[in-house]
């Protein structure tokens, strides 16, 4: 099993969800986050005082998928999230030891 964690533009969440669903993956956890990478921040003005906002709002999507689906899911996510501009985000994969469904006690692939 592999955990896929990606940081995306908030506006791309819906298309990523749709693309991942088409791969047969239903479970995911979504978190609102702020962060910075290569993308420059933006400037906000309050009563003439300018602020450089360099930690930008993003969404973090986490999901655990069987190893055989990793490539197709990563491809689906990157395809759906890409605009070609700086700020599209990052995707990371991690090996997962085990998963347990709390309701039934199932473990491994059956639990995801």
């Amino acid at each position: 099993m592999t955990k896929i964690e990606c940081i995306l533009r908030p506006g791309k969440l819906e298309s990523v969800k749709e693309a991942v669903n088409k791969c047969g993956i239903q479970g995911m956890t979504v978190t609102q986050v702020i962060g910075c990478g290569l993308q420059k921040g933006r400037t906000e003005v309050y009563r003439g005082a300018e602020y450089s906002i360099n930690l930008l709002p993003k969404v973090k999507v986490e999901m655990v998928v069987p190893d055989r689906d990793v490539e197709s899911v990563v491809k689906a996510i990157t395809g759906a999230a890409r605009t070609g501009e700086i700020g599209d985000g990052k995707l990371f994969t991690y090996k997962i030891d085990n998963a347990i469904r709390i309701r039934t006690g199932e473990t491994g692939k059956a639990a995801i």
Partner: protein
């Protein structure tokens, strides 16, 4: 010991509450030998409605300021204004009204003949308002006294301890607001006798609150992290809602100051609106030119700047003059908060000085420029109507109000500081004044973060300060 203290408080309150009753008894004994001025129902109705409108300005101010504060300080910022509706109302009824409008003592202050509203009944007092009950005039003036110290809170928000603030506004209302109100509006007041014009409180409300705010900000010091941490408004829709309530209430503030419902009321009403609209536009345009974007906070701030600027002039000038006053007011208040504050480096948190101090000063001066007897026979002509002396008179009023506000605030805060810390500690500021001063959180992000302690158990908060040992040791 505690019971004895509570008993003493109870007895004192009981005594104070009997004062008006005694006053009514004496009033009943007085014969109505003199023909009393006739109450006008239209005037009375309008001033009562105006009073309610002006009272609504204080919660409006609370929202205006609260939205500009950071999330962790929104409740404390709101409370600064909201509490004034309680404590200043009581102060005004007990002795504030008597000091401000009571029979004159040396052109400086009213005497205490009207202590506890003694003699302030439902018959009109022709010295102030011949067509409305005296109590209507009293309570109309009360709502002005309420909002004025609340304005100051904009300068010290996010760092002044609540207990110190409470002591401060009572002392400030007593030693600064009441005397200045007497100087400008009280029969026998020296500025009134000098001929200074202030239709609805440019001097009495805005200059002294703004200048006092600046002095308080300098004495208390900058907020922790000022200039290095972002201190960005947490809820601009709240601020705009507050500004809208202020705009609405200000019609009662300015038009109601005619103390009637007639032609002068209409003039003040129209001028109030036009100046506000003009100031909103000038603030937004100047900001747009300097920063490339017209901001919502700029529109709200510009409107308030216009309301402030037209306040002293609204019953003395023509509609076109009010537009000029508004246009200039919006632009100079913008420059005060965006340029002057940065250059001088003081931390006027929510710009009480930049908007009220500067806007009020401009309005008082503009009254001396644009006032016309053709608009209001009871007023005077200004510089542009052939009377340069009025500018000098206005400048004397401005200087006197700046001096009493600055010196008085300095002394009051220094005295309070002997008994009570003015400034929240760095740890308290880090945690936010909502939790540390009031034990509340405006936006509970994660309600599952705690568990009930039980009814009557003192709350302790995991912010690393003031945690009761008994609770720290709980398993």
């Amino acid at each position: 010991m505690r019971n004895r203290f509570l008993r003493t408080i109870f007895v004192a309150l009981t005594f104070l509450m009997t004062l008006p009753t005694l006053a009514w008894a004496e009033d009943a004994v007085e014969t109505a030998a003199e023909a009393a001025p006739k109450i006008d129902t239209g005037d009375t109705a309008f001033i009562l409605v105006s009073t309610a409108m002006v009272l609504l300005m204080t919660p409006g101010l609370a929202l205006f300021y609260g939205g500009m504060a950071r999330k962790k300080n929104v409740l404390s910022t709101i409370m600064y204004s909201f509490i004034a509706m309680g404590i200043i109302s009581i102060q005004w009824a007990f002795y504030g009204y008597s000091l401000a409008f009571g029979p004159d003592l040396g052109h400086i202050i009213g005497n205490l003949d009207w202590l506890g509203l003694k003699g302030v009944g439902v018959e009109p007092n022709p010295d102030y308002s011949a067509t409305i009950p005296h109590q209507v005039f009293m309570i109309f003036q009360m709502v002005f006294a309420i909002i004025t110290p609340a304005i100051i809170s904009g300068s010290v928000a996010e760092r002044m301890r609540f207990s110190a603030y409470l002591l401060f506004i009572v002392a400030w209302a007593t030693f600064i607001y009441d005397p200045v109100a007497h100087w400008v509006w009280g029969v026998g007041g020296w500025l009134r006798e000098l001929g200074a014009l202030d239709f609805a409180g440019g001097t009495v409300v805005h200059i002294i609150s703004g200048v006092s705010g600046l002095v308080a900000a300098l004495i208390i010091g900058k907020r922790k992290g000022y200039g290095t941490e972002p201190m960005i408004p947490h809820n601009l829709p709240m601020t705009v809602t507050g500004a809208a309530l202020l705009w609405f209430g200000w019609f009662g503030f300015n038009a109601g100051s005619s103390l009637a419902a007639g032609s002068l009321t209409t003039i003040a009403f129209v001028n109030t609106h036009l100046a506000t609209a003009a100031a909103m536009m000038s603030w937004v345009i100047v900001e747009w030119l300097r920063h490339g974007k017209p901001t919502v906070l700029g529109a709200a701030s510009g409107a308030v700047a216009g309301l402030v600027a037209i306040t002293p002039a609204c019953g003395f000038v023509t509609p076109m003059s009010s537009i000029i006053i508004g246009l200039v007011g919006g632009a100079i208040c913008y420059l005060a908060v965006s340029v002057l504050k940065g250059k001088l480096g003081y931390d006027d948190s929510l710009d009480a000085f930049g908007v009220h101090g500067i806007g009020g000063t401009w309005g008082a001066l503009a009254t001396g420029l644009f006032a016309s007897k053709a608009v209001n026979e009871a007023g005077n002509n200004g510089l542009f109507y052939g009377n340069p002396d009025q500018v000098v008179t206005q400048l004397i009023g401005i200087a006197a109000s700046w001096i009493i506000a600055a010196v008085g605030t300095f002394i009051i805060l220094k005295v309070i500081n002997v008994f009570c810390k003015l400034r929240a500690s760095d740890e308290e500021q880090d945690a936010g004044l909502d939790i540390t001063q009031h034990g509340e959180d405006a936006y509970t992000d994660f309600p599952l973060a705690g568990s009930p302690l039980g009814v009557g158990v003192p709350a302790a908060y995991a912010v690393g300060i003031a945690v009761k040992p008994a609770l720290q040791n709980k398993e």
